[in-house]
Symmetry: C2
Subunit: 125 residues, 2 copies
DNA sequence: ATAGCAGTTGGAGTTAACTCCAAGTCAAGC
DNA sequence: GCTTGACTTGGAGTTAACTCCAACTGCTAT
């Protein structure tokens, strides 16, 4: 698969794909004789993983560390597991915080609806 | 309350408080005769609101718009309500996405635990 | 064999959201 | 009246994560 095919399929720009590779977020992408990237299905799966983790808020740096550990071989299995567990915990916290903020927004919106219903009474903020 | 008191209480740096004010995220903070900011309880409540929304991912720009509408008076009540509803919807989406990512991470961690238990069998990534 | 297009690189530019800095002001204590 | 320390300002600097650019290469179809 060429970079533009992967770009469309994963909805990530070619520039970002090259950036991720340079940053160490992709394990050795194959090249054609002419030097053009030739992605495999496996690469795509990995790219989807990176995309998913990135949009959940894991930093490029953390993912770089993860793949760096990966390249060092299987004696880093536990280190990788722990890295993921740490990130999972942080995510869980942000998840709960988000839940609270959603509730707060719901409440605020309901207060607005009441204010609008009661002849446009102004609020504090 | 001085800026450093609010800073400690809300756990936001004085620089950020000034930045938020300049960006239009705080409604008219009082000043002493000497020109020093003198925050009220009400200001603190608003700062907490801003902090909460920021850490949920609402942009400074969106919050600026919200408070700009506020300053225009009560004929903007519906516009403000709608702005909050739009942000709430986006947040809800990110919330669900995060939930999925948490599950994915849980699964991946369990796969790691199995790999470690089965004499350190290496994974794809 | 040449035009055109998709790909390559290193490096510069952009954006959001702070964060820091220098130069100045002011009130309080010695 | 002078030092000290917290405050003020405008503006410059920083960081993460892209995003864009110019110059170049190498297939492919005419």
């Amino acid at each position: 698969m060429t970079i533009s095919e992967v770009s469309k399929r994963c909805n990530i720009s070619p520039d970002t794909l090259r950036y991720y590779e340079k940053a160490g977020l992709l394990l050795d992408v194959n090249r054609t004789a002419g030097g053009i990237r030739d992605y495999t299905e496996q690469d795509c799966t990995q790219i989807e993983f990176v995309k998913c983790m990135r949009s959940a808020g894991l930093s490029v740096e953390v993912l770089r560390k993860y793949f760096e550990l990966f390249k060092r071989g299987k004696h880093t299995l536990k280190a990788r597991r722990d890295l993921l567990a740490t990130e999972r915990k942080a995510l869980q916290e942000r998840f709960l915080e988000l839940q609270g903020t959603l509730k707060r927004l719901d409440y605020k919106i309901s207060v607005y609806d009441q204010a609008i219903a009661s002849k446009n009474k102004e609020l504090k903020f």
